[in-house]
């Protein structure tokens, strides 16, 4: 079991840079792949739009497709008011998507398979949501925790329930992404291991073509999951953002 989790290990690639609260801070492979994801996403978006043509070429088409997909999704879930938040939501989408894709390279680390990365993004999102809510609605934002039309006597119970469901959101958001990436990569590892053990078993060697073929299919499916999970993360982020903008 431990060998399946080897690919998720975080290794230091440098000497400790400085120490934070007694812990040495180093440049790890996680930071390397985060930098790679940011660099390639920025390069794609900047270079594709370099001759910002009226009739888009292939690369510009790709960049515009990403942009339009997230812009339409944001408008349909969070409304017209959410337009100022588009760069933030789009950055979250593109960062998670590229981290997921870099995780599919052999010998690489899927950064999003560590819950702390996802939780950091989710907590940043919730700080933005809470600050926006209070800035826009003032103390009226607390009405988020009391659904309209609730009888007075039920208000304390509902407030506790709604507060709990609000506080659990960052965790559910990050657990979903991390468990999906972890499960997908472990699944690939399990079928690859099945291939090897079938070959090692001698005259069953021909049968190892079956898990191999399945592994090819699952690899394709994992690319789809990499996109889908980044998309779901952003859909839910904009749904939560709507709460702060429009209340109920």
């Amino acid at each position: 079991m431990a060998s399946l989790l080897e690919e998720f290990e975080i290794q230091s690639l440098s000497k400790p840079l400085f120490s934070l609260a007694g812990h040495p801070v180093t440049f790890t492979n996680s930071s390397l792949f985060m930098f790679l994801a940011i660099a390639s996403a920025t390069a794609l978006m900047v270079l594709a739009m370099r001759p910002a043509a009226v009739i888009p070429g292939r690369w510009q088409m790709l960049a515009e497709t990403f942009h339009n997909m997230i812009a339409n999704m944001l408008e349909s879930t969070a409304g017209e008011q959410a337009r100022p938040f588009f760069p933030f939501i789009f950055s979250i989408f593109i960062f998670i998507f590229f981290c997921n894709l870099f995780g599919m390279l052999p010998f690489s680390l899927a950064v999003t398979s560590h819950i702390v990365v996802n939780l950091a993004i989710a907590l940043l999102l919730f700080v933005v949501i809470i600050v926006t809510g209070f800035a826009k609605h003032g103390l009226h934002f607390l009405h988020l925790f009391v659904p309209p039309g609730v009888p007075m006597i039920m208000v304390p119970i509902f407030a506790v329930l709604e507060l709990f469901s609000f506080l659990v959101r960052p965790f559910s958001l990050s657990i979903r992404l991390f468990a999906n990436m972890l499960a997908g990569h472990i699944l690939l590892g399990v079928f690859a291991g099945m291939c090897v053990s079938l070959v090692a078993a001698g005259w069953f060697a021909g049968l190892s073509i079956l898990p191999l073929g399945l592994n090819v299919a699952i690899t394709g499916f994992e690319f789809f999951v990499a996109f889908l999970q980044a998309y779901i993360y952003t859909v839910l982020a904009s749904v939560y953002l709507r709460d702060a903008l429009e209340m109920h």
Binding site: M1, L5, M73, S76, N180
Partner: protein, 74 residues
């Protein structure tokens, strides 16, 4: 029984919860396909709601998976 084998058994038992998530995902997709089949014009509107439903249902399965992993790695 030893402690380790009980942990592995517990991991297997924890994954029984994925039964409910599987049923739920089936219901979501059947309703989704049914809605689009009845009114193809609604596809764009239903997509976001469908994905939210998918994500929320899938979370049950993933929580089972996380508990199973914690038991295995204990």
């Amino acid at each position: 029984m030893e402690g380790q084998s009980l942990h592995l058994l517990g991991a297997g038992v924890a994954m029984i919860g994925s039964l409910g998530a599987g049923l739920g995902l089936g219901l979501i997709f059947s309703a989704w396909i049914g809605a689009i089949a009845r009114n193809p014009a609604i596809e764009g509107k239903v997509r976001t709601i469908g994905f939210i439903g998918l994500a929320v249902t899938e979370l049950v399965l993933l929580l089972c998976f996380v508990v199973a992993m914690l038991l295995i790695l204990k």
